[in-house]
C-alpha cells in the first residue's frame, strides 16, 4: 500500500489505518443493527468510507481528485471541470493517533483529519489537490503542522466580513483562483455549458436533499440516517448521490407524520462519521433532532444558486456569493443570521430546545455558543451546551445532562 514513507513508520500507520477501518466498520455494523435500518442506506454507508480509500473514489476513472474541506468552496466548479472530490472531514478517533505530535488542544476534527491525511499520504493514490477555505485557525495551520506532507494545498482565503463590497469581490477573486487552479489540474477549460450543467446538477441534488430535510422535520426520517446521508455528500459522484436520495425519499414517501415530542435543534460543531456520539446520545436520551445547522449535516451545501447573467463570470459570481454571503459558519464577524435561522427553524417546527455541540478546541463555535445561548434564552428556548470531543468516556455524563435537559423541555 505504501511506497512513499519509511518502513518503520509504515508499520504503525498501517496498524492505525486498520484500526480506523475497524472503527468505521464497527459503526456501520451498529447502524445496520438499528430497527430503522433499511438497505436503501447501504449506498451511503459504503460511500462514507471512500474518504479512507481515496483511490476507490476514482476507480476506473481518469479524473483528477481533489480533497475539499469546509462548506465555502463551491464543488460545482470541481464538477464542471471533471475533478472528482472527496470531503476531507474526519470523525475517527483512531486517526487522531497519527497526529499525536500536534497541539493537545487541537480541534478533534482537524486532529483526526491530520491523521487521516497521513493515511492518504502513504496511500497508493492520494488526492492531487486539497482545497481548503481558511475558515479557522486550525485549518490555516494544518499544512504547516503536517510538515509539508501534503502534496498540494490550495487555500481559499475566506473574507470574514460578508456584507461589504471589498470582501465579496475578494472572495470572487478566490473563486477565480480556484477555477484557474482546477483548470491546470484537470487540463480542461471551464466553459459556459459545463459550468451551467454542473450548477443545475447541484441544484437538483439540493432539491432532493431539501426534501430529505423536510422528511426529517416531519419526523419521518430518523436523524441518524439523515446525518449519514449528509456526511456522504461529495464522497461520490453527485448524480449517484442524488439518485440514491431519491430512492430513500421514495421509501419514506408513504410514511405519515410522526408526532414526535421532545423535538430539539442540534447546533454547533461538525458531526462527522464515525463520530455520531452526540446524535446517538440525544436519541438515547429520548429526544429527536428535527433540525440542525451543522456544516456536515443540513448545511452541507447551500444549493439554490441562481443567476441571470449566464456567462462564466456571472455564474462564478453567483457561486461565490451563494457560498459566502449566506454561510453561517461562526468564523464570520457578524453572524446574526445564524441565531435567526435557529429561532425560525425552531419556531416553525415546534422545537423547544437547542443543544449546542462544541468540540473541544473548536474555537469559533465555542465563542459563539455564549452569544447564542443568551439570545436563545431571551426568546424562551431551552439551551444546553455540550462540550466534548471524540472520546466516549464522558458519554454517561453527557447522557445525564441530556436526560435532565429532556425534562426541562
Amino acid at each position: 500500500m505504501n511506497n512513499k514513507s519509511s518502513r518503520g513508520k509504515t508499520g504503525i500507520t498501517e496498524k492505525i489505518f486498520k484500526k480506523t477501518i475497524d472503527e468505521y466498520d464497527c459503526e456501520i455494523e451498529s447502524l445496520k443493527k438499528r430497527d430503522d435500518y433499511s438497505p436503501v442506506f447501504d449506498y451511503f454507508l459504503n460511500t462514507i468510507k471512500i474518504s479512507l480509500f481515496p483511490e476507490n473514489g476514482r476507480k476506473n476513472r481518469v479524473n483528477p481528485l481533489a480533497g475539499i474541506l469546509c462548506v465555502q468552496a463551491p464543488p460545482e466548479i470541481l464538477h464542471a471541470l471533471g475533478v472528482d472530490s472527496i470531503k476531507l472531514c474526519s470523525g475517527s478517533i483512531y486517526a487522531q493517533r497519527l497526529s499525536s505530535d500536534m497541539p493537545v488542544l487541537m480541534c478533534p476534527v482537524l486532529k483526526s483529519l491530520a491523521g487521516a491525511l497521513r493515511f492518504h499520504n502513504s496511500a497508493a493514490v492520494s488526492p492531487d489537490c486539497f482545497i481548503i477555505p481558511t475558515s479557522c485557525d486550525w485549518v490555516v495551520k494544518l499544512p504547516e503542522m503536517l510538515n509539508q506532507e501534503l502534496p498540494e494545498v490550495h487555500f481559499l482565503e475566506l473574507p470574514h466580513i460578508k456584507e461589504n463590497e471589498k470582501s465579496q469581490s475578494r472572495w470572487l477573486e478566490e473563486i477565480y483562483g480556484l477555477k484557474d487552479r482546477l483548470e491546470t489540474l484537470s487540463g480542461k477549460k471551464l466553459n459556459k455549458r459545463n459550468l451551467r450543467d454542473s450548477i443545475r446538477k447541484f441544484s437538483d441534488a439540493w432539491a432532493e436533499f431539501n426534501m430529505l430535510i423536510e422528511y426529517r422535520r416531519k419526523g419521518i426520517l430518523p436523524n441518524i440516517w439523515f446525518t449519514v446521508i449528509a456526511n456522504s455528500f461529495l464522497q461520490d459522484d453527485i448524480e449517484k448521490w442524488t439518485e440514491h436520495i431519491d430512492i430513500v425519499l421514495r421509501k419514506y414517501k408513504q410514511d405519515k407524520n410522526e408526532s414526535t415530542d421532545s423535538r430539539v435543534f442540534l447546533a454547533g460543531s461538525p458531526v462527522f462519521f464515525p463520530n455520531l456520539k452526540i446524535p446517538l446520545l440525544i436519541e438515547e436520551a429520548g429526544m429527536h433532532i428535527i433540525a440542525d445547522d451543522i456544516c456536515t449535516c443540513e448545511r452541507i451545501f447551500p444549493g439554490a444558486v441562481c443567476c441571470d447573467d449566464m456567462t462564466i463570470h456571472g455564474m462564478l459570481k453567483a457561486l461565490s456569493e451563494r457560498y459566502h454571503k449566506a454561510c453561517i459558519c461562526p468564523t464570520f464577524t457578524d453572524n446574526e443570521r445564524r441565531v435567526n435561522n435557529i429561532l425560525n427553524t425552531a419556531g416553525t417546527n415546534e422545537i423547544k430546545g437547542v443543544i449546542f455541540h462544541v468540540l473541544k478546541g473548536c474555537h469559533p463555535y465555542d465563542i459563539e455558543s455564549i452569544t447564542i445561548e443568551k439570545k436563545l434564552k431571551e426568546r424562551g428556548f431551552k439551551f444546553l451546551r455540550i462540550e466534548t470531543d471524540y472520546t466516549k468516556e464522558d458519554s454517561r455524563n453527557i447522557l445525564t445532562r441530556l436526560e435532565a435537559f429532556k425534562t426541562t423541555l
Partner: protein, 256 residues
C-alpha cells in the same frame, strides 16, 4: 397511604431512602461497589426490616443515578438532575431556586421554577475537579478523614495557596505544601477555596438566584460551605440530610 423507596446509585455512594407521604422515614448510604444494584436492594430490605414494613407495602421504587438502568425492580427511572431538583425543592419547603450539588464525580448547578420544575442547569465535564473524589484524594494524602475537614479548616488561620483543582496536579501541590511545613488545616482551607472557585467558574456568581442550597455528600463539610459562601458573597443553606436529597427527590417524584 403507601410507602415509596428512592434509590440513588451514585458514583461514590449508593443512597436508599424510604418515604412516607413526603416524609423521609429511613435513609442509608454505602460506598459504591461492583454489583451496586444488589447492594441497593439489600439496603432496601434492611430499611424495610428496620422500619418494620413489608416489601409489598412499598408502592413504587424510583431509581436514579449513574446506575439507574441497572435496577430491574425499579418502577420509575428518573434522571439525577430532576430528582435532585425535586428533592431540594421539597426539602426547602418550596423556597429553593438554586441548588448546587457536589457529587462524587460531578458538580451540578440547578435552577428551578417556583413550581419546583427544573428549568436550567450546568454540569461539569468529565473532569472530576472539585468533586467528592477530590476530597477523598486529599484525605488520603493528608491522612485525615474527610469528616474532619470542616472542623480542621475552621480552626486554621491563613489558607494555603492551592492553584490547581485538578485531582492530579493538586496532589503534587499538597505534597509539596506538606513538605514546606504548612499545617494540615491551612491546606484543607486552601482546598476548600479552590473547590469553591471551581464551582464559581461553573456557575458565574451573578447568574444564581437566591436562595442557594447545597447538597451532596461534601456539603456536610462546613469548611467548604463557608468557602463557597465567601466566594459567592451570599448565604448558602445546607439540607440536614444533604447526601440523600437525590434519592428523596426520586422517591417523591413518584408521588406527584
Amino acid at each position: 397511604m403507601g410507602y415509596n423507596a428512592g434509590i440513588d446509585l451514585g458514583s461514590t455512594a449508593v443512597k436508599v431512602v424510604i418515604v412516607e407521604n413526603k416524609e423521609m422515614i429511613w435513609r442509608q448510604a454505602r460506598p459504591t461497589v461492583p454489583g451496586q444494584e444488589a447492594l441497593a436492594m439489600g439496603m432496601l430490605e434492611e430499611g424495610l426490616k428496620e422500619t418494620r414494613k413489608k416489601r409489598s407495602e412499598i408502592e413504587k421504587i424510583a431509581v436514579t443515578g449513574y446506575g439507574k438502568n441497572l435496577v430491574k425492580e425499579a418502577h420509575t427511572v428518573i434522571d439525577e438532575l430532576s430528582a435532585n431538583a425535586k428533592g431540594a425543592f421539597l426539602l426547602s419547603g418550596g423556597k429553593a431556586r438554586t441548588v448546587i450539588n457536589i457529587g462524587g464525580q460531578d458538580i451540578k448547578v440547578m435552577r428551578f421554577s417556583p413550581e419546583g420544575k427544573l428549568t436550567d442547569f450546568k454540569m461539569n465535564d468529565k473532569c472530576a475537579a472539585g468533586t467528592g473524589r477530590f476530597f477523598e484524594m486529599a484525605a488520603r494524602i493528608l491522612d485525615v478523614p474527610v469528616q474532619d475537614f470542616g472542623s480542621l479548616s475552621e480552626e486554621a488561620g491563613e489558607p494555603a495557596n492551592i492553584n490547581s483543582t485538578c485531582v492530579v496536579f493538586a496532589e503534587s501541590e499538597i505534597v509539596s505544601l506538606m513538605a514546606g511545613g504548612a499545617e494540615t488545616g491551612q491546606i484543607i482551607k486552601g482546598l476548600h477555596e479552590s473547590v469553591a472557585r471551581r464551582i464559581l467558574s461553573l456557575t458565574g456568581s451573578t447568574s444564581l438566584e437566591d436562595d442557594i442550597y447545597l447538597d451532596g455528600g461534601p456539603a456536610n463539610n462546613s469548611g467548604l460551605v463557608s468557602a463557597i459562601e465567601d466566594e459567592l458573597f451570599r448565604e448558602v443553606f445546607v439540607f440536614p440530610y444533604c447526601q440523600f436529597t437525590v434519592a428523596y427527590g426520586a422517591a417523591c417524584s413518584v408521588l406527584i
